[in-house]
Amino acid sequence: MNSSVALPVLIPFATAIACLFVWNSTRLQRGITLLGTVGLLLSGLVLFQEVETYGVVSIQMSGWSAPYGITLVADRLGAIMVLLNGVVALTGVLYAFGSIDKGREKFGFYPLLSAMFGGVSGAFLTGDVFNLYVWFEVVLMSSFVLLALGGERPQLEGAIKYVTLNLLSSTLFLVGIGVLYGFAGTLNFADLAVKLAQTDRPELITVTAFIFLCAFGIKAAAFPFFFWLPASYHTPPPVVSGVFAGVLTKVGVYAIFRMFSLVYTQEMWLTHFIILWMGAITMLTGVLGAAVQTDIRRILAFHSISQIGYMLSGFGIAGVGISAAMAAGVEGQAERAAMLTAGAGMALAGAIFFVLHHSLVKMNLFFVAGAVKKLRNAEELEQVGGLYHARPFLGAMFLIPALSLAGIPILSGFWAKLALVRAGLEVGTYAVVAISLVVSILTLFSMTKIWANGFWAPPPDTPDGERGSDPGDEEDPPGYRLMLVPIVTLVVLMVAMSVLVGPAFRVVQKAADQLLADRVYIQQLWESSGKIERIDALLEERNYVTTVLGEEYLRALLMPIEEEAP
C-alpha cells in the first residue's frame, strides 16, 4: 500500500480544510483537529511499520514516474521523523485544549496548526528538492501566522524577525535549486544523487552545497544564522513555542541530513567538516546565550540552538569519519577504515537519536514553562519560585526532562551524548568532543538555574528560609490538569526511550546505516557500469535509489556508459 506514504501529508491538510468549513464552532474544530492528529499519528505508525518491513516505500504523485513527477518517499529516517511529527501533533493539540485562549481558537488556531503539521510531514517525505521548498513555504507561512496570531506587541516584533530571516532562507534555497537544476537538470533527490556522484567537477557541486547549507542553516537555527529563534520563540503562547521546538527547527536539520547524506557526498572532507564546526560553535554559543537569560522560555530557546549544534556536529562527525575512512581505504588500511566507518555510523545514529530526544524533551519543557506561567502568571525566574514545595508533581515533570536535556544518565539525553562522544573519539574529532562536554556542563548549569530559582527558591516577597504556600493551598487554574496530560505523556515516552535504550537505539542505528548505505550503493552502481550481471544484481536490491527511480530508468542511465565499455 504505497498510499500510506501520502497519508501523513494528506490527513493534516484535510483536517485543516475541514476546520475551515466549521469556522464558527471552535468545539467542532477541536473535535476535528483531535481526530486529525490521531489520524496523523496512526498513519505515522502504519508508515513506520511498513518501512520496517520493506526498508523504503514511495509513491509517485500524479502518477508521473520519477524523476519527472514528484516522489513522496519514506526511508527509515523519514518514517521516524513522520512518527515524531505525529507525537508532537497529538500532544501539542491536547496541550492547546488546556491552554489556548478563546480569541486565538476563534481565529483559526487549529487549522493553522494542522496545516503546519501537514507541511512538516511533506518536508520529511518528499523526494524532490523543489517540492521540499514548497513544504518549507507551507511550514513558514503557517508558523508565521501562528507566531503572530493574537497580535500582541512582542509577538509581532518576534514574528517580523522570524519571517524576514526565514524569507532570506527561502530566497537562498530557491537560488540553490536554480543553480543545481542548471548543473544537473533534475530535481529528484535520488536522481541528483546518482547523477552527481559521477562528476569530474565536484568543486562546482560544492558551491551549491554551500548555498543550501546557508539556507538550511537559517531554518535549523545554526550559527551564525540562528537570530530568529531567540527573537521569537518566547513570544507566542507556550503551546506554539512547544510545538515549534518539537518540529520546526528539525525540518531544517532534517533537510541538512537528507541533502548532505544523499546528494552532497562529493567533498565530505570539506562540506561535512564545515557542518561539524558549525555545529560545535552553534552548541557553544547557544548555551552561553542561555546562561545569561533569566526568563524560562528564553533559556529554553537558547538551549534549542545549542542542541541543534549537537545534532549538526554529530552529523559532521559522521561525514568526516566517512571521508577519513575512504582515505584510509585508498591507502589500504582496511582495519582503520572499518573503525572509522563504524564511528561514522555511531555518530549519525547518535545525531538522529538526538533529534528525537530533543523534540520530546524540549517540547515538554516549554509545556512545563506554560504550566508555570499559568500558575504564577510569570516567566521571569525571580517572579516564580516556591513550586518545589507547592507543586511537587510539576517539579518532577520539570526535573526529569531538564536533567535529560543536560545529558544526565540514564535519561535519553545521556545516551545521545554518549553516542556522539564515542563516535567523536573513534573518528578523532577531539576538540569537538571537548566542546560538547563543556556545553553539557553549561546546560546543566542553566537547567539547575531554572530548578533552583523557579522551584527551590521561596516565592518572591518570601524571606530566605521560608517555603511559601503549601501543597493544596492553591487551586488548579482552569485547564491546568488538562495541560498535565501531554506533559506526563511526553515524560513517559522519554523515560521509555531512555530505559529501553537498546531497542530505541537499534531503530535509529538502522536508519543511519540505511542512509550511509545509499552512498555506497550509488558508488557501486557506477563502478559496475558495463558489467551487466553486476548491474542486474545491484538493481535487485531494494533501497532509496531503486525504489524511487525504478529499475528501468536506472538501467537506461547506466546504458550509455555500458556501451562505451570494451
Binding site: 519527472y68 511533506g122 507551507v138 531567540p230
Partner: protein, 787 residues
C-alpha cells in the same frame, strides 16, 4: 547484585508513599532494602576472602557498549558493605533526625536513590555503567545538599558541588570512553568492561606510552580528584555541609567522596607505574592531606572541622594509592577505619545539634553528663581518629606508615604523615571531646540526650571501630587484605600477617608522639589559631575564589557574546547572514575556478543592454530616493523591465504573470503608502555603506552563480521529457500549465495552501488584536526581545 541494586532503587521510588503510609515506621522499613543487600554481601564475603570473585552480566544497550555487568571482588566487597551497612544506619538515623520534616518522604527517595547509585558504582564492571552510576550519585547528591531548598546558601553549595563534580564527571566520561575506544582498536574481547580494559593496560595490549592513554589518565584523574575533593578541588566539600547531617555523614564521609578513591583503586593495576599517574596522586594527595587538615585545625564549626579533616583523609588515601602496590593495604585500611569513625562523628555532630542546638564546638561544653551515650560514641570514634591503640584507627595508621617504606619520597612523606597525624589528633579532640567536657556552656543547660533512633547509628559505628581494632582477624583484616589484593593484584598482594600487624603494640613511638602532640595542640588551640592567622590571605588566591571567578567570568563571557550576537537589531541579523553566505559561497566559487566561466559578451543585443540599464537605474533609484511614492514607481520600472526580458526569451506567459503582479504591487503599495507614517531614516551613514557593500557582494555572487548555472551542464535536463509528453500523454499544449497542474501538481497544491494560509493570516492579524476588545487575547504571550 543487580537485584540488590534494583531493590534499593525500588525503595527510593516508593519512599514517599511508604512515608505517607507508615509515618515514623517508614525508616526501619525502608532500611530493610539496604539491609538485604548487606546480608547478601556478607554471605558472599567468604568466597571473596578466599580470592574468588562473583560475576553477573545483563544486556542493556550492547549497541552502545553498555552492559549491566557486575563484579564482586575484594575492593567491591569492602565498598558494598560500607554502602549498604552504613546505609542502613543512616536511613534509620535520618528517620529520627528529620522527624516531622515536610519533605521527609522525598528525602528517603533521594537518599536511597543515592545509595542505589553508589552501590551500582562500586559493583559494576562496565565503564559506561560505571559513569552512569557515578553521575547519578552527583545528581542525587545535588538534591540532598539542596534539601533545605528554601535557604540560598543550601542552593548555592548544592550547585557548587554539582558543577565541580559535574566537570570532573564529564572528564571521566571522556576518559572512560577513550579507554573503551582504545580497547576497541586493540581488539579486546570486551573493550567496555573495566576488568578487560585493566587487563589490556597491564598486559600491554593497549600501549601505555601512547599519548591517548596519557590523555585518558588525565581525564580519569580529573574525575576522581573532583569527586574525592582532592586539592585543588577540595573546596566544594566544606560547602556541601549545608546538607542535613545524615547526608554529610553518609555521602560526604563514608561513601560518595570515596567514589574517587574507589575509581583510583579500581584502575590502579592498569595505570600504576605510569609516572603521570603515580606522581599526580602522591603530590596532590600529599598536599591535600597536610593542607586541609591544617585548615581543619583552624575551624570551630562542627561540620566544617569534620569536612576539612575528611578531605585530608581522602588526600592521604590518594597519596597511598600513588605509592603503588605496597601502600594499597594502608589505603584500604585507612579507608575502612575512616568510614567508621568519621561516619560516627558526623552523626554525633548531628546529635549535638539536635540535643543542644549548637553547631559551634567552642560555644558549647559539658555535654558529657547531659548526653552520655552520644559522648561515649564520640569518644570512641575520636580515639580511633586520633590513632589511639587499640582502636581500628591505630592499626590503620600503622598500615599507612608501612606503605611509605621503600618509596623514593619516603622522608618527606613520613614528615607529612606525622604532621597529618598530629593535627588529626587535635581535630579529633575538638570534635570528640571539646563539646562534652568542662563546665556547662552555651545552650548546654537545656540539652537532652537524643532518641534511640539517633543513638543507634553512631554507637554501632564507634563500637565496630573498637571491635575491629581489638580483634582484627575477625572481619577487619580479611576485608582489608582482600580489598588491597584486588587493588594491587593478587600476585603482588601483601603476604604479611595482616592480623598481627594490626595488633596493638606500643613500639611505634611516632604514633604515640603524634597523639600527644595533637593533644597539646588542642590545649593551646587559641594560640595556634592566632599564630596561623596569616594564612587567611590564601583565601584571596585559593581555589574557592578561582571557582567563583571562573563562574562569573564564564557568565560575563556569555553575556558579552550574546550581547554582540543576539543584539535585537534585525539589520545586524540580516548583515551577518548575508555576509556569511557571501563569504561561504564566494569561497566555494573561488576554489572551483570561476575564471573559467565565459562571459557572454560575444554578441550583445542592444535591446538587452538597454533593459539592463533600466533595471540597474531602477535599483539605484529605489535605494537612493527618499519619497515612498517615487520608490514604488521606480521599483515598478525594475519589474516591468524584468518582464520584458522574459518576453525577449520567449516566455510570454511568465512575462504576462510578471506584468500583472507588478501592476498589482504598484497599485497596492500606492494605496498603502497613504496610510503609512512619515518616512524617516534611522540608519547611520556607516550602516548604509555596509548595506551597499553587502548588496554589491550579494549581487556579484548571484551574477556569477547565474553565469555558472548557464554555462555548466553536467547532465541533460528533465524538461525535455515535459515538452515531449505534455501534449501526447497529458493532453495539454501549454507545457508550463501542464507542469503546474499535472506533472508537478503537488507543488501547486502546496502553493495554494500557502496562499490560503497567507489570507488567513492577514485576516486574523487585522481582526484579532490585543488592543481589540472584541477579539482580545488574555496576554498569553511572552515579552519581546527588548533590544
Amino acid at each position: 547484585m543487580l537485584i540488590a541494586t534494583l531493590l534499593i532503587f525500588g525503595a527510593a521510588l516508593v519512599g514517599p508513599v511508604v512515608h505517607r503510609l507508615l509515618g515514623r515506621f517508614a525508616a526501619p522499613v525502608l532500611a530493610l532494602a539496604p539491609l538485604a543487600g548487606f546480608i547478601y554481601f556478607l554471605r558472599e564475603a567468604k568466597r571473596i576472602f578466599e580470592g574468588g570473585s562473583v560475576f553477573e552480566n545483563w544486556n542493556w544497550a550492547p549497541e552502545l557498549g553498555v552492559m549491566l555487568g557486575f563484579r564482586l571482588d575484594g575492593l567491591a566487597l569492602l565498598f558494598a558493605l560500607l554502602v549498604t551497612g552504613v546505609g542502613v544506619l543512616v536511613v534509620v538515623y535520618a528517620g529520627a533526625y528529620l522527624k516531622g520534616h515536610v519533605h521527609l518522604g522525598r528525602f528517603y527517595s533521594y537518599l536511597l536513590g543515592f545509595m542505589g547509585s553508589m552501590l551500582g558504582l562500586v559493583l559494576t564492571d562496565n565503564v559506561i555503567a560505571l559513569f552512569v552510576f557515578w553521575e547519578l550519585t552527583s545528581i542525587t547528591s545535588y538534591l540532598l545538599i539542596g534539601f533545605d531548598h528554601q535557604r540560598k546558601a543550601a542552593r548555592d553549595s548544592a550547585l557548587q558541588a554539582l558543577l565541580v563534580t559535574g566537570i570532573g564527571g564529564l572528564a571521566l566520561l571522556a576518559g572512560l570512553v577513550l579507554l573503551g575506544v582504545l580497547g576497541m582498536q586493540a581488539s579486546l574481547d570486551d573493550p567496555w568492561s573495566v576488568s578487560g580494559l585493566i587487563e589490556g593496560l597491564a598486559g600491554g595490549a593497549i600501549d601505555r606510552d601512547s599519548g591517548l592513554v596519557h590523555g585518558a589518565v588525565v581525564l580519569i584523574l580529573l574525575g576522581a580528584l573532583t569527586k574525592s575533593a582532592i586539592f585543588p578541588f577540595h573546596f566544594w566539600l566544606p560547602g556541601a555541609m549545608e546538607a542535613p547531617t545524615p547526608v554529610s555523614a553518609y555521602l560526604h564521609s563514608s561513601t560518595m567522596v570515596k567514589a574517587g578513591i574507589f575509581l583510583i583503586a579500581r584502575f590502579q593495576q592498569g595505570f600504576s607505574g605510569m609516572a603521570l599517574w603515580d606522581t599526580t596522586l602522591v603530590v596532590l594527595g600529599g598536599i591535600t592531606m597536610v593542607g586541609t587538615v591544617f585548615l581543619a585545625s583552624r575551624q570551630t564549626y562542627y561540620k566544617k572541622l569534620l569536612a576539612y579533616s575528611t578531605t585530608s583523609s581522602l588526600g592521604a588515601m590518594a597519596m597511598l594509592l600513588g605509592l603503588g602496590a605496597n601502600a594499597a593495604v594502608g589505603a584500604m585500611g585507612y579507608l575502612f577505619a575512616h568510614a567508621m569513625f568519621k561516619g560516627a562523628l558526623f552523626l554525633v555532630a548531628g546529635n549535638v545539634d539536635h540535643g543542644a542546638h549548637e553547631k559551634d564546638t567552642e560555644k558549647v561544653g559539658g555535654l558529657a553528663g547531659k548526653m552520655p551515650l552520644t559522648f561515649a560514641a564520640a569518644l570512641l570514634a575520636a580515639a580511633s581518629m586520633a590513632g589511639v591503640a587499640p582502636m581500628l584507627g591505630f592499626a590503620a595508621k600503622k598500615l599507612m606508615k608501612y606503605g611509605l617504606h621503600g618509596s623514593e619520597w619516603e622522608t618527606i612523606l613520613v614528615v607529612g604523615v606525622t604532621a597529618f597525624s598530629v593535627m588529626t589528633a587535635m581535630v579529633a579532640c575538638m570534635v570528640g571531646v571539646l563539646p562534652f567536657i568542662g563546665k556547662l556552656k552555651g545552650s548546654a543547660g537545656e540539652a537532652h540526650e537524643v532518641s534511640p533512633g539517633l543513638l543507634f547509628g553512631p554507637l554501632v559505628l564507634a563500637v565496630l571501630g573498637v571491635v575491629a581494632g581489638v580483634m582484627p582477624g575477625w572481619f577487619a583484616a580479611p576485608l582489608i587484605a582482600s580489598a588491597a589484593s584486588s587493588v594491587a593484584g593478587a600476585e603482588k598482594s601483601v603476604s604479611i600477617g595482616l592480623g598481627s600487624l594490626m595488633k596493638a603494640d606500643l613500639s611505634m613511638a611516632l604514633t604515640v608522639g603524634a597523639i600527644v602532640a595533637g593533644v597539646v595542640l588542642f590545649v593551646v588551640r587559641a594560640l595556634w589559631r592566632r599564630a596561623t592567622s596569616p594564612v587567611e590571605w590564601l583565601d584571596v588566591v585559593g581555589p574557592a575564589r578561582m571557582y567563583t571567578r571562573s563562574v562569573s567570568g564564564t557568565l560575563w563571557l556569555a553575556w558579552w557574546q550574546t550581547r554582540i550576537l543576539q543584539n535585537g537589531y534585525l539589520r545586524h541579523y540580516v548583515w551577518t547572514i548575508l555576509g556569511t553566505t557571501i563569504a561561504l559561497v564566494g569561497y566555494g566559487l573561488y576554489r572551483s575556478g570561476i575564471e573559467r566561466i565565459p562571459l557572454p559578451i560575444d554578441q550583445p543585443f542592444y535591446f538587452e543592454i538597454a533593459l539592463v540599464m533600466f533595471i540597474m537605474a531602477g535599483a539605484i533609484g529605489a535605494s537612493t530616493i527618499r519619497t515612498r511614492l517615487a520608490v514604488v514607481s521606480v521599483l515598478g520600472i525594475v519589474g516591468f523591465a524584468i518582464a520584458a526580458v522574459y518576453v525577449i526569451f520567449g516566455a510570454f506567459d511568465v512575462a504576462m504573470t510578471q506584468f500583472a503582479i507588478e501592476t498589482l504591487i504598484v497599485i497596492i503599495l500606492v494605496l498603502v503608502v497613504y496610510h503609512l507614517p512619515r518616512f524617516r531614516s534611522f540608519s547611520t551613514p556607516i550602516s548604509r555603506w555596509m548595506d551597499v557593500l553587502l548588496a554589491l557582494g550579494f549581487g556579484a555572487m548571484m551574477t556569477v552563480l547565474a553565469l555558472l548555472a548557464a554555462d555548466v551542464t553536467l547532465s541533460g535536463p528533465i524538461s525535455d521529457y515535459f515538452a515531449e509528453n505534455a501534449a501526447p500523454v497529458a493532453y495539454g499544449r501549454n507545457v508550463v500549465n501542464v507542469i503546474l497542474v499535472d506533472f508537478r501538481a503537488t507543488d501547486t497544491f502546496g502553493e495554494i495552501v500557502v496562499l490560503a494560509l497567507a489570507a488567513l493570516g492577514v485576516m486574523t492579524l487585522l481582526r484579532l488584536r490585543a488592543s481589540n476588545p472584541n477579539g482580545g487575547t488574555e496576554g498569553d504571550g511572552g515579552k519581546g526581545e527588548g533590544a
